[in-house]
């Protein structure tokens, strides 16, 4: 089961890699399971999107990074 969150988060890095974020509680990122990029709906001026599927100490999460605003978003939590 997964839960759609779609909320901005603050993320900390270890070097170039995301290491943890806070969303009610601290999530420590253990692995990046997958990473891909999406063009988004460019025709509606939607910006490009970087998607990270990560394994944290609590659960699997899908994080989005919007390079145009440098904003991280917790998009989804999974069991």
């Amino acid at each position: 089961m997964s839960k759609l969150i779609n909320q901005p988060i603050l993320l900390t890095y270890a070097g170039d890699f995301p290491s943890s974020f806070f969303f009610g509680q601290n999530f420590i990122i253990k692995y990046i399971l997958q990473h891909w990029r999406e063009a988004g709906q460019w025709w509606t001026d939607e910006s490009e999107l970087f998607v990270y599927e990560v394994s944290t100490d609590r659960c699997r999460c899908e994080l989005h990074f919007l390079p145009s605003t440098e904003q991280w978003v917790l998009y989804r939590l999974a069991d």
Binding site: Q34, H35, W36, R37, E38, A39, Q41, W42, W43, F50
Partner: protein, 1017 residues
Amino acid sequence: MFVHLHVHSPYSFLDGASRLEALLTQAAKWDMPAMALTDHSNVSGAVEFQKTALALGLKPIQGAEITTEDGTHLTLLAENRDGYHALCRLLTAGYAHGTRHQPLVPWKALAKNNRGLLVLSGCHRSGVAQAILRKDYAQAKAEALRLVEIFGSNQVYLEIIHSYLPFTKYLLGGLFKLHEELRIPLVATNNVHYLRKEDFPIHDLLVCTRTKTRLDELHLDRPINGENYLTSPEEMKRRFAPFPEAIRNTLEIADRCSLALDLGKNLFPRYFPHAGPEKSIQVLGELTWNGAQKRYASISRPLRERIQHELEIIKQLDVADYFLAVWDLVQYAKEQNIRYAGRGSAADSVVVYCLEITNVDAFARGLLFERFLSLERAQKPDIDIDFDARHRDQVAQYVYERYGPERVASVCTFQTYHARSALRDMGKALGLPLSELQQLTKNITSIPADGIRSLLHRLPELKKHPLHQAKYSKLLDYCAAITGFPRQMGTHLGGLVVSGEPLTTVTPLQPSAKGVLITQFDKDTIEDLGLIKIDLLSLRTLSAVSTAVNQVGPRLDYNEIPIDDKATFARLQKGETVGVFQLESPAQRSLQSRLQADRFEDIVASVALIRPGPIKGNMVDPFIARRHGREAVTYIHPKLEKILAPTYGVVLYQEQVIEIATEIAGFTPGESDRLRKAMTKFRSQKEMDQIQVDFIQKAVKRGVEKETAETIFSYVLGYAGYGFCEAHAAAFADTAYRTAYLLEHHPAQFYAALLNQQPMGFYPPNTLCVQAKNRGITLAPLDINESDVEFTATDTSIRIGLKQVKGMEAAFLNSIVAARSKRHFSSLQDFVYRTNVNKDVVENLILGGAFDSLLNNRRMLLWNLPKYYQTKQGSLFLETPTQNTVADFSPFERWVREYAVLSLSAQGHIMEFFRPNLPAKALTTQDASLLTEGSPLTLGGLVIRPHRPPTRSGKTVVFLSLEDEYGLIDVTIFEDIYRKYAKIIFNQPLLLVTGKISRRDPHERASINATRIQGLP
């Protein structure tokens, strides 16, 4: 350093989004030593790729991304020429096994054609990648081993692409594992589809067009991100930091590959396969000299020298076999009584004339052979022949049979994006509804897709065009980005290539929409590969000539038509030439009346004069004035007299330009040809400026005053943008004169023949009928019992043919003819019961008047028709026709409906209905033709062919003809009037024009300079 080995260009049809030159230029800027081209299932870009890459200092690696029979992708690179040949055979096999739209290469074909190919395992759609993504490692291993087994372990690489797609990490991991286990080397690519990341929208839009989806719709082929751009070496190193050998291997592959395309060879088959070229030149010589005996009363020394000169050049260029092949197919056409006429620069050759391929005496005309063939240019000969359109395919079939189907193919064409097609495709992909797209493409002419903005500002009728709105700005940008991109492949109308070796070693072959095999190279690139094109063209005029001659019967020998027939020239002098090949447009009719042509040379000049170059270069008026002795013929330099005397000191033909360059500036034939090409295309002002500098410098060195040299070059410049050679003009003039003769002496048969060959010529069928009626010919109506399938003629009448009816098909015609051969139809019901013509077409027959002789009430016939179809199966008895229980259409309604289904009317002219309501002062075309220069008039008529040709001033001028029951009058609408009435001119079928008669000299046909234009209600 890094080399891109997986690159798509626009030849990946609706996928690659950046031009080859742009991709190669960027690669050169990064000092990449090489680049590969791997378009989907074709090598159409190979020649352009090789030439451009070499010019930029890059090694071109030819390749293709193929789809195998199981639907998986594979990237193939030609390591050498053998590899290129194998690639051609594989692509051909793919089209034979799959479909025209989805070629699928069988694995067996890969096993059979494995030499000289390097294989990259492919993108995420490859067999290896798909198996890894399915988590079936064993299958992935089997797929990789299959490649090794087919191609050998030294030839196979595992292709790794890191373009940030989901599961990339997993896929790369799987490929690395295979590499470790099987010791197959890795190679990095980026599956490049466009130059820069910001070009991604163009790629996405093209994919939408290909997949027939809108941007907001999902499709598996739609790209998920914009990462497949031409990445820099640094970026590739960064992406593949864990796999440095994958970067290094790109260089290793580039190093292994050698030039795969062998350009500039002569692959034309030997006419005598078991003899050397000497035999061909010997036989060609014999045929030429024999022909010369027939063509000329005696062979003078200069003629002998000319023929010897031509034969020597043909020998040195080793193209005698080509001439023999063309001679051979012309022999076939003669045997089969298929009418033909050679044209183009081939008519510059006396040899070609002696072989009876053309009908232009190049020697008598003093035509320059070097315009056709020269040692210095060493280009391939190109002979164009027009055939009776009905039999062109029969001649082509002969060529296939003569040389074998594996050695003959049609040349492809690339249908490229222009303004309208780009607007339609990009607009559709953006989700614009059809009605909106129709509005957006309305009145957008055939211009390059990057010229729409300038057109919108240039044409007054587009002042309020919706494309001016800001919301369409991006659409226009997208259109501009794809201008000239090939959208799809088509078949060249006439071009056949004949090869001495199987074509599939040179070019892949694929089926066209009609099923004939076409090359993957067009006419411009096919010659670079060593193939020579023979142009077998269809000319409906020749079909019309044949049918007219047949209808006239044995009293006419077309080939013996006297060349000085006074009545024919008298017709030309009146400008009454509607229907005459090349001489029927308003401009030509006006020229004929002003020129007062009385010799064949005048017709040759006419054909060349009404072209953009002479018109823009202001050559028409001086030519006419000098022709009639009203202006002195002077030459700025004595050397020009010999060259320009036949055209009264005016530069009219390409041959003259070449001679001027040779005589005045001492240009070599090659330099002269460069000048001719630069002028013909006139694409680069810079190139023309450089030629001007060379011309003047060389002329001055040869003792010509600088000022004189400059003036002479200005004559040449005036000619720029125009590309007509005298030989071609003379070839066309021959057909023009003969059709004028037919029009003068056998008008009914000739007009009927023209009507049978529609669409052709400048005017619609109704105009031809009006012209025929004005010559006293009766236009007999469509009649279900009397009309033949085609238009038929006696000396004084033309009967409308059944095939003229809208929607008519061969099966319906056969059914009518078969039923009628038993007995005539007695009623509409009888017709319905005894034929299988569908109801819609029967309705059209009724509206066209086909049943008038049985019941002259078309509305009544329409009323009864459904009933006859209902009872067709059940009733054996015909009812007695009921007369007039339903009132017939009014005469006007009958005319309009008849015109709608026949594109003409036997009943009269539409202006007869409008004439009673015209202002009292309105004249007829007959009245107007008698008026003198400057006479004011008002005249109403049907608008025929409004058009905007290029003008001398560069201003927009509209020309149209107004037609009434008495004939045609031409109308000129200058820019100020055009701007005022643009919308009416192009949208109203009937106009009332007020203006003044224009008649520059007493002989000229009257035309109108419009000052006011109204639509007729």
